[in-house]
Symmetry: C2
Subunit: 199 residues, 2 copies
Amino acid sequence: MLSNTEQEFIIHFGEMGSKWGINRTVGQIYALLFLSEAPLNAEQIVERLSISRSNVSMSLKELQAWELVRMNHVQGDRRDYFTTPEDLWTIVRTLVEQRKKREIDPTLTKLRELQMQAPADGENGYAMERIGELGELIELLTGWYDDMNRLETERLVQLLTLGSKLQGLIGKAEGVIPFSFGGKRRTAQTSKTSDGGAA
Amino acid sequence: MLSNTEQEFIIHFGEMGSKWGINRTVGQIYALLFLSEAPLNAEQIVERLSISRSNVSMSLKELQAWELVRMNHVQGDRRDYFTTPEDLWTIVRTLVEQRKKREIDPTLTKLRELQMQAPADGENGYAMERIGELGELIELLTGWYDDMNRLETERLVQLLTLGSKLQGLIGKAEGVIPFSFGGKRRTAQTSKTSDGGAA
DNA sequence: TATAAATTTCAGAAATTACTGAAATCCGCG
DNA sequence: CGCGGATTTCAGTAATTTCTGAAATTTATA
């Protein structure tokens, strides 16, 4: 049924999925749909990947929750069919957006929360400093991401293609550096016999 | 020993780690070191996180393999001490570099390999098309990443801060769009009764 | 080289996560 | 309404991953 190429691709994405915290089956189903021109129904996925019907059902739900797969219907067929978006840029945008939503945003929230509830009067200065720095870094990066995300794909590709050539253009805008990352120094405290300290 | 803030931060990063395919303990150790001004030795980590010595040993090895943690030595002390880099940008660069090396590069290699071994004479045209597209997309993105990575941090921050303001400058460079992502159309084949097809 | 501290290895236990089959639910249509 | 196919749920099992303690190894120095 599946060509050798498809097999290998699917297996690769199954393995890759693991490294991404996505389970193997989910990765494989995604890969299968990605390579498939026509939408597939659950039964077809069962056949092609040799996994149980219930596993397919649950995995598809997961993929839909990530908005990586969408459901279609075919006239005169009660079954649900599934596809991935045809446009790869749509896929990239969704992936980044979802990971941001699930991983970055909650972390930023947590960091700000920790800063709020901190006694403020210097209890554990270094840790608070680091938490603050990390929060600012994340905000810089997500701010930039939001900007990029607003661009239409064509513009985005232009920017990406320019790459470092952009560096030349930089001088023309104000050279404002708002944050001071990299300027913090750590006092390399030697901490001898620190094991028995206040334990 | 650990302040409440540190506790929460560490627990958060343990949980986050899971979503990243990194195990909880590894995430927690990293978080602990990140917040710690002074380098810590294995025994101190054992105490603060209440995990076994062997677990600490293995997790530190993993973190070192990722180059996210480095080993220091203190005069007159035989034990190994560990720290995270003080500069957050160094951390970001390492993270991205490592994930690229472990996840993106092997995938690109696999895609190219599949393209090579494909019968070329149109066996399974659509899948091959998609594999090609995906390869090109990844190359565009990693090419851009390489460019950015070459920039010194100060320049990089400038670029990130400018964000979409850059869009205005774009017109000044040649508006060459080398790839045609998003231009492919899928024949939305209806595939009735496709379940019994060639099975 | 002997010794003692520090670290690593590794086999098995514990915990977590993934997967299945059976039953329940849903849903369009006669 | 009730039939039949499609889908979902879920409890139990399988598989995988994580973690530990004990033993082995490494290493600095006496």
